[in-house]
Point group: C2
Chain length 220, copies 2
């Protein structure tokens, strides 16, 4: 496998991110033989995810090499950093040269604010579709969306599907299938409530109230 | 929600664990209003997962309160710690009083080595079924298995399904559905290769070679 093209992948971190948004793609890409993963933030100080796990970045914006894949996720803390000029400048700089500019869940908002998604189709978390559209992005209610070199996953758990689609694009379908099998990605959700369409209006409204009340997520 | 029964959940960490095994359940349980999550290891020193992410535990074996739910995952590094007497003593001590004694993926082997699974049915990663059976456990090739107060998920990504089943058991079906919707768990695997049965013998054999060669996982 030593003659495989190597890819440098950057996973952007920040306080209040959703761990699974990043850990989904990380698990898939980390199982490929030719990826070098960087977990990137302004500093190497530990950051807390929105479910309370503490992760230590290994790369800063400043010392990050040119990325082949840049990926940013969403999270309850995203509102506090989504307009941060340092973050947006990093995304713009890396995005201009990357082979794939990608997001999972609300991470699409970062790319849009950096001017990287206008004129492209993108997925996002279902609660964030409206605000992404208001940023001039063509929002697609799909699990994984590819538009030229932009690739995006829908909400949280879509990062696994996204990761496998990206793995197939970078390393071929056969390797992606092997990784899917090794991750035993044969999902069996206990309920049929994973999308607003399947959940129905009542559950959607309950979920919005729950998000606002319990999770303090301001949904517009 | 303040009158809801509170649950204390312990997620056991160790060097070389698979992050997603733990982050799957963490993401579901962390979205519930009445869970207190602890990420537990011998010390508070940062640990590296088998895909290279550095996580900082927040609780040690010594200062961990009595747990209502104890959960342990698998990982490429598990062979180095699965016989560690301190780990097994911790699991035995917490397991004797916990409401649910649980595992995801190869984490079932820890529970079996601690004597907590003999006489029970349990799921595990498909490559680990044989060695779990050799420890006297009734191995079930199911995604999520409940046997009295033991609850287990299959390989890696099964931790999300497991988390939702556990959420329903602790907080009711309606809350679990809301969380499923907020995590947008409406999976769309790009290939139908997520289980050995679906993947077929050729891909299974390729995956075993890949695991042994690329991931250095000794499969027996």
């Amino acid at each position: 496998m030593s003659d495989l093209q190597k890819y440098i992948v950057g996973l952007v971190m920040y306080p209040g991110m959703t761990a699974l948004d990043i850990v989904g793609p990380q698990t898939v890409l980390g199982a490929l033989p030719n990826m070098r993963l960087h977990r990137i933030w302004k500093t190497l100080d530990p950051i807390s995810t929105d479910d309370g796990m503490v992760i230590v970045p290994d790369t800063t914006f400043e010392n990050c090499p040119p990325l082949d894949v840049v990926c940013v996720g969403g999270g309850l803390g995203q509102r506090a950093v989504v307009d941060d000029p340092q973050v947006l400048e990093f995304l713009r700089r890396q995005g201009s040269g990357a082979k794939f500019v990608t997001s999972v869940c609300g991470g699409s908002e970062f790319l849009a604010k950096a001017g990287l998604l206008q004129g492209y189709r993108s997925a996002t978390h279902w609660t964030a579709r409206k605000q992404l559209a208001e940023l001039g992005v063509e929002v697609a209610a799909e699990r994984v969306v590819i538009d030229r070199n932009r690739m995006s996953g829908g909400g949280v758990t879509a990062g696994i599907d996204f990761g496998l689609v990206l793995a197939a694009a970078l390393c071929g379908e056969q390797t992606a299938k092997i990784v899917q099998l090794l991750l035993e990605y044969d999902p069996a959700p206990p309920f049929d409530a994973g999308s607003p369409e399947k959940a129905g209006l009542d559950l959607v409204n309950q979920a919005l109230l729950y998000a606002e009340g319990t999770l303090n997520l301001k949904v517009n």
